[in-house]
């Protein structure tokens, strides 16, 4: 790829120490690259570390190891003061819009805050800018003086998106942005996120457990299991022909909106504890294709071309 990535993550790790010298390995060696303007879906089940990756990439929590290059600069160990000017280029949208807005502040106050903090606008210019942002997200100017309780879930999520766009970021991290919404509203927000990306040339890191949503919004997909990316590639290929047995199970477990489609329970058991990651391939204990080698050697993401898999059997 000739275009330099906007975000490049290498060997990213986050450990949470426990008593007795053990540690929860929440993120355990993740490599990622996002080109400007693309939308990468990060999928996986609860506890796989996908939200931790989001917070690490934005430096909301401190990484235990690895490099995070944003626009070519390694920000993994930058002090807070040096990070602040970069923060305007990277924004986060959370799952639950009801919790992401201060109930005692108006829409104006919430959306204006990043502009005030970064001293980007003030006075009448500020109000005009905020009104413009509301227009961008499809809300009328009359919403400026409303409080969150007067808004529906979809409208609140639009306010959160307006706030995230206020400083014209390059990278937007979306952590389950539609999981708290009803399907009819989810469809509105998904459409709208696609529009915004085209209109403002945004780059998305889109985190979701819902594969069908990711399929609609993302160009590329990375599948996480127990702190590690096990498969990565173009969305169309990953969903049509998944190669990692975990991705295959995940895709097979998705229920289509049709009758009579009770899926086979492909995987037995639960995800192991992240404090006790098995040696060798971390998926081996649940894997239907397990071989002797899998319990000894930890496979790395491999494969020529854009579709890469971390599996000895693939």
């Amino acid at each position: 790829m000739s275009i330099a990535p906007l975000l490049e993550v290498q060997g990213l790790r986050k450990l949470y120490p426990l008593k007795g010298g053990r540690a929860v390995r929440a993120v355990d060696g993740v490599d990622l690259a996002l080109r400007p303007g693309e939308s990468l879906g990060l999928v996986g089940e609860s506890g796989c570390g996908k939200s931790t990756v989001a917070r690490l990439v934005l430096r909301l929590i401190e990484p235990s190891g690895g490099a995070i290059r944003f626009g070519g600069q390694d920000i993994a160990r930058l002090p807070e003061a040096a990070l602040r000017p970069l923060r305007r280029d990277m924004q986060l949208i959370f799952q639950n819009p009801h919790a992401a807005l201060n109930p005692r502040r108006t829409v104006f106050a919430s959306v204006a805050e990043p502009l005030v903090v970064q001293r980007a606008a003030s006075g009448t210019a500020l109000q005009a800018r905020v009104a413009g942002l509301l227009r961008d997200v499809g809300l009328p100017e009359s919403f400026l003086w409303r409080f969150p309780h007067e808004l529906s879930g979809g409208q609140k999520q639009r306010v959160c998106i307006a706030r995230a766009l206020a400083l014209e970021p390059k990278l937007v991290v979306l952590d389950e942005p539609t999981s708290a919404l009803d399907v009819s509203v989810q469809a509105q927000i998904l459409d709208f996120l696609g529009d915004l990306r085209r209109r403002f040339g945004l780059t998305y890191l889109f985190i979701s457990h819902n594969l069908a949503v990711v399929r609609q919004v993302c160009d590329r997909v990375a599948v996480m299991y127990l702190g590690r990316i096990v498969e990565e590639g173009p969305a169309a290929q990953i969903f049509a022909a998944p190669r990692h047995p975990y991705t295959q199970a995940l895709v097979a477990s998705v229920l289509p909106p049709r009758p009579g489609a009770l899926p086979d329970a492909v995987l037995a058991g639960d995800v192991p504890n992240a404090a006790e990651i098995p040696p060798g391939c971390r998926f081996a204990p649940r894997c239907p294709l397990r071989m002797e080698r899998c319990t000894r050697e930890d496979p790395a993401l491999a494969g020529g071309g854009p579709h890469r898999v971390a599996c000895w059997a693939a």
């Binding site: 979809g154 009803d182 639960d270």
Partner: protein, 329 residues
């Protein structure tokens, strides 16, 4: 033959500071023994409060029944005395819910909690309460029936030591204690990951099959409903808008809301299908729209829809509440 469950003209409101919310408006629903029925709808459509009404679990007040009746095996649920109600709950109707952790007490072991449930059922059915040791053995049997490994060891563990999928299996085991006729499952897999969801749905399907349970499954997810139910009821803003065999409902939805809902779901298997939003939002039930409650958002609404509430009627094998059901296809 009496139906297992018969709900007629059921109207329920909640009185609050801001007035009276009309959460259920004339529900008509009959379920025969052995059926698998799904109720699907979005937030606030009244599906959960309807499910809870069946076992009389809605607190009154603030709840208030404005009309209609719910009959279980011919008995009026609202006329039951304490004893009859105790028998209804667990022996007639058993429920499982979305978040299993909320329904387990964190300070007691799984064994203690299951023994309590088993002994309470003994009492409700007018038997002598069996001793703890016998209840313990019965609890182990029930855990084995929901395919939990090493039931004896599990009984000594506490809820926080179990995964979400295991907790939901424990609650299903508890629901089976009284050998219920009707299993009401309210979003049973919504809090679970997809691979675990597949396991739990398989288990429910197997229990329905082997124990001859009647299933009433409540979900916002058309995929979950489609996986388990032969018949689907669609609710919107406190009303039943469509009720049809699953195959017919998914393939030829008759109500414009059902059609909107199906079009709004992204489908992994059909990448070229873009999820279509339904314009507008869910009405405020303190002041619901006149006539058909869906008319302000309906692409097919005519003047009549704002005035006259459409009643459920038979169209092409569906029961559908829409003035223009014949035209929709």
């Amino acid at each position: 033959m009496t139906s297992l469950l018969e709900i007629t003209g059921y109207r329920l409101a909640f009185d609050g500071f801001e007035g009276r919310a009309q959460v259920l408006d004339g529900i008509e629903l009959t379920v025969q023994a052995g059926e698998t029925v799904g109720i699907v709808g979005e937030t606030g459509c009244g599906k959960s409060v309807l499910a809870r009404s069946i076992a009389r679990l809605v607190e009154m007040p603030p709840g208030r029944v404005l009309g209609g009746a719910i009959r279980f095996e011919g008995q009026d649920v609202f006329a039951m005395d304490r004893r009859a109600l105790a028998r209804l709950r667990g022996h007639g109707v058993a429920m499982i819910f979305q978040d299993p952790m909320t329904y387990l007490n964190p300070v007691f072991s799984i064994g203690t909690q299951m023994e309590d449930v088993i002994r309470a059922h003994d009492r409700a059915e007018g038997r002598r309460m069996r001793p703890r040791a016998a209840a313990h053995a019965r609890a182990a049997e029930l855990l084995a029936a929901v395919r939990l490994p090493e039931p004896d060891r599990l009984l000594d563990r506490y809820p926080h030591e179990l995964s979400g999928g295991m907790r939901q299996r424990v609650l299903i085991a508890m629901a089976l204690t009284g050998d219920p006729r009707l299993l009401v499952a309210d979003e049973p897999t919504t809090a679970l990951d997809v691979t675990i969801q597949a396991q739990v749905l398989r288990l429910i399907a197997e229990l329905v099959e082997t124990r001859g349970l009647t299933l009433l499954l409540i979900s916002h997810d058309l995929g979950v409903i489609g996986a388990l139910c032969r018949r689907v009821v669609v609710m919107y803003a406190g009303t039943v808008v469509e009720d049809a065999p699953a195959e017919a409902l998914y393939v030829r939805p008759r109500h414009p809301y059902t059609r909107g809902l199906l079009a709004a779901v992204p489908d992994l298997a059909r990448p070229d299908h873009r999820a279509q939003p339904i314009p507008g939002h869910i009405p405020n039930l303190l002041d619901p729209p006149s006539g058909c409650r869906f008319h302000p958002r309906c692409p097919m609404a005519i003047a009549r829809c704002a005035v006259e509430k459409p009643l459920l009627r038979e169209v092409d094998g569906h029961r559908v509440a829409c003035h223009r059901a014949e035209e929709a296809a």
